[in-house]
Subunit: 434 residues, 2 copies
Amino acid sequence: MTENKIGFSKLTKEEKINWIANQYFANPKEAISVLNQYQNSNEALQKLHDEFIENTLTNFYLPLGVAPNFNINGKNFTIPFAVEESSVVAAASKAAKFWGARGGFKTTILGTEKIGQVHFLYEGDKQKLKEYFNFIQPVLLTETEEITKNMQKRGGGISKIELIDKTEILENYYQLHATFETKDSMGANFINSCLEQFAKTFKNNSENFGLPSIQIIMSILSNFVPNCVVRAEVSCPVSELNEDANITSSEFAEKFVTAVKIAEVEPFRAVTHNKGIMNGIDAVVLATGNDFRAIEAGVHAFASKDGKYTSLSHAKIENGIFTFWLDVPLALGTVGGLTNLHPLVKFSLEMLGNPSATELMEIVAVAGLAQNFAALRSLTTSGIQQGHMKMHLNNILNQHQATKEEKRLAIAHFENQTASHNLVVDFLENLRAK
Amino acid sequence: MTENKIGFSKLTKEEKINWIANQYFANPKEAISVLNQYQNSNEALQKLHDEFIENTLTNFYLPLGVAPNFNINGKNFTIPFAVEESSVVAAASKAAKFWGARGGFKTTILGTEKIGQVHFLYEGDKQKLKEYFNFIQPVLLTETEEITKNMQKRGGGISKIELIDKTEILENYYQLHATFETKDSMGANFINSCLEQFAKTFKNNSENFGLPSIQIIMSILSNFVPNCVVRAEVSCPVSELNEDANITSSEFAEKFVTAVKIAEVEPFRAVTHNKGIMNGIDAVVLATGNDFRAIEAGVHAFASKDGKYTSLSHAKIENGIFTFWLDVPLALGTVGGLTNLHPLVKFSLEMLGNPSATELMEIVAVAGLAQNFAALRSLTTSGIQQGHMKMHLNNILNQHQATKEEKRLAIAHFENQTASHNLVVDFLENLRAK
């Protein structure tokens, strides 16, 4: 580990790769060649991607696929998905086609409020703190003017700053709880910059006001955004709902609604139900250069906000009309961050017509609802494994270097039969032992 | 949209690309060339990646970076991260070095239980249903033998099947609630295949037993795995804790513990706190070919399981010792799925010494704890923006085609000053206007 002593991060990319290959691999040359086959031959492009993060060795491939035929509020979209899981794009495409023939997807923005907090401790008179807050509030705004001026030009900025007393849950704990409007940017850097300035201003002026004991703990945006929410919805007469000959439309509608109700009342099911929604959401979030960890955290916290983890989507039958909808918090951006930097993100956004942040919220929510619809339709009719295994089967066959003929036989064999990785391997082994 | 009528999915990859370029882009040629610069020149390799999902257009790049110097249970690791967010790898590397000098990371597997359910409706005598369940239970096991035999060879299989009465939360709703041990595979296909067979067996034999009204709604694994949990931990004397000249070790320790306590009691903070943990976790999950949506869903549901969304990590000071730990549910696999199929996943796993699934749980949890430590250290000392903007600054400068000299000036300018995207752009504009 001699190289390590001079600092791994100081090595060139090539030196890093050599060190790792020699340190951890039985066949260092082969390890290096695996990494190298993923480097881009365009040096400037490779450098751009290398510099997104630290200690980059190569480019990790996720397939970028598309699902066409999405009708959203009357407009046609082809949606990009960056995802490694087979059948996500196929499910989206099917759902898009199905609902495209039934009026398409409708969406509504329910809010776009972002949140950030300065967390601090204060020992002393509460009334005095309130007076200080009233005094300092305009100064917090003035001293962030440099940061907010461009955002204000675009119609955004700081919406509100509140002093919140949290001493009942933790001794001496208070917050400056601020709400923001960040327009087409996700706003993380903007919000954090504002908050850190709030903290400085708030602390720096406190002693002169006679409040020596304020201790800033930290200043940071929240990924819990229960007021930055979009609704996506589909509906049609029950009679037009089903395409499956094995079940009537109304049986299907009832079963579908029951499946959603189960996800509403039973957390073990709700978690997986929402995970399926996120298969669609994250893939579009990634393809459009947004941060899926932020979205995931906000979404699942939203699903648990009333004390019990529950479904994000809901379904009902009323007067012969089936309606299925999803409310989901999505703090997304279409400017800033990676959106203008990653050429495939730019591609994805242009394919979507260069949407505003709220339009992207609508598209992403629709991708989630479509995914959920497809999953529930499979689950309540043929089962999840049939569709999933069809794609996965192909992957397993590739992995075991199946020939064209072996693939044909395997696909025929597992057409009407439950398949698992092991069963497929057994099948191939039997075939080859013949 | 004539091509669409013959079915988009039936087009060749080239035809799909052409259709999209002509449908949505002002400059179709340019759009095609953006996609093409990401195709791999090795045709077989490109085909492998294309076939992971449907309608693949090209390869979406995520940087694959590494953080060296992780000491986990006395063993040295370099951990792979597939992530687009700047500073995640830098933060991991710093935390690894810091704790490497203080005894390293310790981990404990607290459980490996996976869960799956058959959800069904039943109207009728509850006692009769119980009798049927007792009768059918061994048959459920016999009729899944084909599916379970390979898993059993590896020491796994079906651990338990229970009948659960959920009629109090939804009329006529019951479950077959099964637990599984899936060893080194994540087990989704295995579990779903078992469950679908349970459902068939359970339904098919019910009429003969005099229970005509059983209606299977769906059969599916749960991503909520509160008994598939790993603990990662670090500790050291408070006196050895700090490296920052601006704050004493004990002040830092107290402030750090307060920051964690805030995340324990305040959901708006907890969500972001856990999001930071997931920055580390998801990046390793992706690099090792696992499904981050499944992990995300399980983790955030775990964080909300006691009725209020809370921190996954905890910290304390006892007898002069600082301890910081994380309990996190991680249903991971190191065989099956993409693990043997994606060459960079194979690379990542070999770099980690080809870990078992439980070893990978340990490594991933450590990546999460390291990330959380680094984030809290920044937040409670210099603030999050300084470190974050250093990397992000570089991205913004690249985006605006800054020259070497402009970069040097910008980096110097923003060294000791709050930066935001807009401020950086302003700075560049001013520089260029001179």
